[in-house]
């Protein structure tokens, strides 16, 4: 049994699986059920001045019959009185002292407001604070959430105010609705953040009903943009985690969020630099019980790899994540089709023929059976054929020995620059 205990900026939890601040962590009843099911921590649904919610709040995107490939919501922060939430946090922490409870906070960008809320939640025994600078809908129209999270100065200032009052670690939750997330992450670090978490939801409209022409969801015939999450956003989140993890100016731990649906996704985020992960959509789709496989699968993975502690995964892939200019231009892979495994759906052929580099031929073997063959000299190693192939092991992407030593674009430009310089020197 591997050691699954995780530590995010001093916040301990029995495993790295936290419930993200969202509908699943709305009440003591829910968080207690979650801890009972095995979740290591919970970020309580954002506290602030109580708001009003609309009805018809969620929508999801199905893809080819698969439900909840993406998820969209227009629900705001907690609509329960602060006192009720504080009382339930206190009770829950008492019942589950080893599990992490983090209070998600969102108030107006005023120093006294931050001081007041930080003090009140720390009084009931939370293990840490998460500043919600990410929520893209509703609250942003009032100058909170992503409206302040998109302005590095506001992120820095508010983090600073929270830190002035805080005794527990402060996590800053970042919005992806920004060109370069490292800009706001750095601002959080300058403000004194102990950790950053990402990503919050992405501005979205889940769909339009093609019969009524209403938005999906709609509130009495009118819609507004929501926040997008779920499996579809995972690649976006993973990149943002990776960008922050490899930035030398962002030297605080990261809590990874965004489309994590199982233990494998969690491992990916941790390898790319997350110290733990936060999950919401998967729990909303299947219930709290899914954490059992997350824990079990992660444990089996670590045991199989003979890694004693989950913390050893953190950041292991970060050195492998770089800029395009550092990729080896002389590295070469080509597709090879194993005709004994291939089922002849010809999807690779048509994908290559119509949309890539026209190098997969449909041929007949000696017995007249249909076979597919790659003309390796024309293959650019794009992977498209192996991506569309429905059969495991039918197409291998094979590395070819390069005739040339590794050379990146940056190497090339540097050499060219040198030549240019020499030429320049020679010019009288």
């Amino acid at each position: 049994m591997a050691d699954l205990r995780s530590n995010l900026a001093g916040i301990q939890s029995p495993n790295p699986f936290w419930l993200a601040s969202a509908p699943p962590t709305n009440s003591g009843y829910q968080v207690q059920r979650a801890f009972e099911a095995g979740w290591g921590g919970a970020v309580w649904k954002t506290l602030g001045d109580p708001i009003l919610n609309v009805s018809s709040r969620f929508a999801a995107v199905s893809f080819n019959g698969q439900r909840v490939a993406g998820f969209n919501n227009i629900e705001l922060i907690t609509d329960r009185p602060l006192e009720v939430n504080l009382k339930e946090i206190y009770e829950t922490k008492k019942m589950y002292p080893d599990h992490a409870i983090i209070a998600s906070l969102m108030v107006e960008p005023k120093q006294e407001k931050w001081h007041e809320i930080v003090k009140r939640v720390e009084e009931v025994g939370v293990d840490g604070l998460e500043l919600n600078f990410g929520c893209p809908h509703g609250m942003a129209e009032r100058g909170m959430g992503s409206a302040s999270g998109q302005v590095p100065e506001l992120v820095e200032k508010q983090t600073f105010w929270a830190k002035e009052a805080a005794e527990t670690p402060v996590i800053v939750k970042l919005t992806p609705n920004i060109t370069d997330i490292t800009a706001t992450a750095e601002a959080a670090v300058r403000g004194g953040a102990d950790a950053v978490s990402m990503i919050n939801t992405i501005n979205s409209l889940a769909g339009v009903d093609i019969d009524t022409w209403n938005t999906i969801p709609h509130v009495g015939g009118k819609g507004a943009h929501g926040g997008y999450c779920g499996p579809a956003v995972k690649p976006i989140a993973l990149n943002m985690v990776g960008e922050c993890a490899r930035s030398p100016r962002i030297n605080v731990p990261i809590s990874g969020i965004g489309g994590i649906s199982n233990w494998q996704n969690a491992v990916e985020f941790m390898l790319m630099g997350a110290s733990n992960v936060q999950i919401c959509t998967a729990a909303m789709h299947h219930g709290f019980r899914i954490v059992e496989d997350m824990i079990d699968g992660l444990n089996n993975y670590l045991d199989e790899k003979e890694i004693p502690s989950v913390q050893e995964l953190v950041g292991k892939s970060v050195p492998k994540y770089s800029d395009w200019g550092n990729l080896d231009l002389n590295y070469k892979i080509v597709a090879r089709i194993n005709n004994d495994v291939c089922i002849n759906c010809n999807k690779c052929h048509i994908a290559c023929e119509d949309t890539s580099h026209q190098c997969i031929d449909m041929l007949k073997d000696g017995q007249g059976n249909p076979i597919l063959k790659v003309r390796e000299e024309d293959c650019v190693g794009c992977n498209l054929c192996s991506i569309v192939c429905p059969v495991e092991g039918a197409i291998d992407m094979v590395e070819l020995e390069s005739e040339h030593p590794p050379m990146t674009w940056n190497d090339r430009q540097a050499v060219l620059g040198l030549v240019q310089e020499k030429k320049g020197n020679l010019t009288p």
């Binding site: 019959g65 999807k347 429905p390």
Partner: protein, 455 residues
């Protein structure tokens, strides 16, 4: 518990036993299955379909919610595509060719085809338009799968088409010959209506050769498609065949589709002679009419049986018993002239005969009697010999001889479907007949186009 109770056969409401047995896909099942289709390029399922339905396309259209487009894709290639969705031996055709046989499990193409065409039936869709009239007339003899198919394509190409149908409704085998619990009549009638919607005239209760002569037809129409199918089951040639309780399997099945279901079979013992798909139909219909014991008697073995495997399994599920190497030699009756028993002789297989199947020979002195209340003959079908001869067409034992483009010895007459289906030419399938009907129509069109160019 009696056998009929075990089979969930109702003896009080026989009509329930004739409801379609294979359940339709639900919307969710259809979409899930449609999404499982790989949408192969140059897909082998298309090649395996005798009518060349663009199967990946119609399945993709189910996945995208374009059911009208899906049904149109199917019916455009196969004018009897709704029936074929139910009666095609799909595991030997499209589903057998599905590439997923080599990785997981094949797509249930037949069920998806039924899903799309059922939608079109339920929503009263008219999928095709007639072509601009070109002034030519064509008569189609027989409104079965081949005839309907030829008529539909000719009407789309602009021909003025009249179908001559001897029964009271068109559809042929699909309307009358395939058991209701496989193919409900309304499916076939919808296909007929699709053809009628193209202004194809259907003259029912009209037997060519009796009600209208071949000569008259030849002089009235520019071209003729002979798609008359096959006739009744031949005589067994044994004593007692005229007794009350001896049935022609084709007529027997037709009665279950056209008349109030008889309760005369409840609790009775039935022997069915033959082991083709029609024999299975006769046997399973008997079970559904409440017969207590149904036996199929076949003079060869399971090896040589021509029924599809799934039909054989289906009959076994229905509790039908099979007596191999058993040949009837006499039917015994009582004083009132009703069947009492059937006398059989045991057979053994000798040398292979012309069609490659081992010839059965009687075992001397092995005669035995099986007490039965009814005998159903299902040993093949005879040919419409006099009709063929009225048209003066070349034929071999009643099989009309045609060129590759389905032209007969009379260049004005084309033939397709069972009238051209000869021994040893593979399986007679509805879907093959449909394709032949299309091909005959295209051949006629080509002939007229060439003539107009020459003139």
């Amino acid at each position: 518990m009696t056998k009929s109770e075990k089979m969930k056969i109702s003896l009080t409401d026989l009509s329930r036993n004739f409801e379609e047995v294979h359940p339709a896909l639900t919307d969710r099942e259809a979409v899930e299955e449609a999404n499982r289709c790989l949408y192969c390029y140059d897909a082998p399922c298309i090649q395996a379909c005798p009518t060349g339905i663009d199967i990946p396309s119609f399945i993709k259209k189910i996945a995208s919610g374009n059911l009208k487009g899906s049904a149109t894709t199917i019916m455009s290639s196969n004018p009897v595509g709704a029936s074929c969705a139910r009666v095609c031996p799909t595991e030997e055709l499209c589903e057998g060719a599905c590439v997923l046989n080599h990785s997981t499990k094949p797509i249930v193409i037949g069920d998806l085809q039924r899903y799309a065409t059922d939608w079109a039936i339920k929503n009263d869709q008219v999928l095709f338009k007639k072509g601009e009239r070109n002034g030519k007339t064509v008569a189609v003899v027989g409104g079965g799968p081949a005839g309907l198919s030829a008529a539909r394509e000719l009407a789309r190409l602009g021909y003025d088409v009249t179908i001559f149908e001897s029964s009271s409704k068109a559809g042929g085998l699909n309307s009358y010959g395939i058991v209701s619990f496989r193919l409900p009549q309304e499916v076939s009638f919808w296909e007929v209506d699709q053809v009628k919607n193209l202004d194809v005239k259907v003259r029912t209760n009209t037997t060519v050769g009796k009600d209208i002569s071949a000569d008259e037809m030849l002089s009235t129409y520019d071209s003729i498609v002979l798609a008359a199918g096959m006739a009744h089951v031949p005589d067994l040639g044994i004593e007692g065949e005229e007794l009350d309780g001896v049935y022609d399997a084709i007529e027997f099945v037709k009665d279950t589709k056209t008349k109030p279901l008889t309760d005369a079979f409840i609790g009775k013992t039935v022997a069915v002679i033959g082991a083709g798909n029609t024999a299975i139909d006769g046997a399973t219909c008997s079970v559904r009419l409440g017969a207590e014991k149904v036996k199929i008697l076949y003079r060869r073995t399971q090896e040589e049986m021509s029924a599809y495997d799934f039909e054989f399994e289906f009959a076994k599920q229905d509790g039908v018993e099979f007596e191999w190497l058993t040949q009837p030699v006499k039917i015994h009756g009582d004083e009132k002239g009703s069947v009492r028993s059937i006398e059989c002789v045991k057979m053994e297989l000798g040398e292979p005969d012309k069609d490659g199947r081992r010839r059965p020979q009687p075992v001397q002195g092995s005669n035995f009697k099986i007490p039965v209340d009814a005998v159903i003959k299902a040993i093949g079908q005879t040919r419409h010999l006099s009709l063929i001869e009225q048209f003066q067409l070349d034929h071999k034992d009643g099989v009309v001889q045609v060129t590759e483009s389905y032209r007969t010895s009379n260049p004005k007459v084309f033939a397709c479907g069972d009238v051209v289906f000869g021994k040893g030419k593979g399986e007679a399938m509805v879907v093959t007949a449909a394709q032949q009907g299309k091909d005959a129509a295209y051949a006629i069109h080509k002939q007229f186009k060439e003539q107009s160019v020459t003139i």
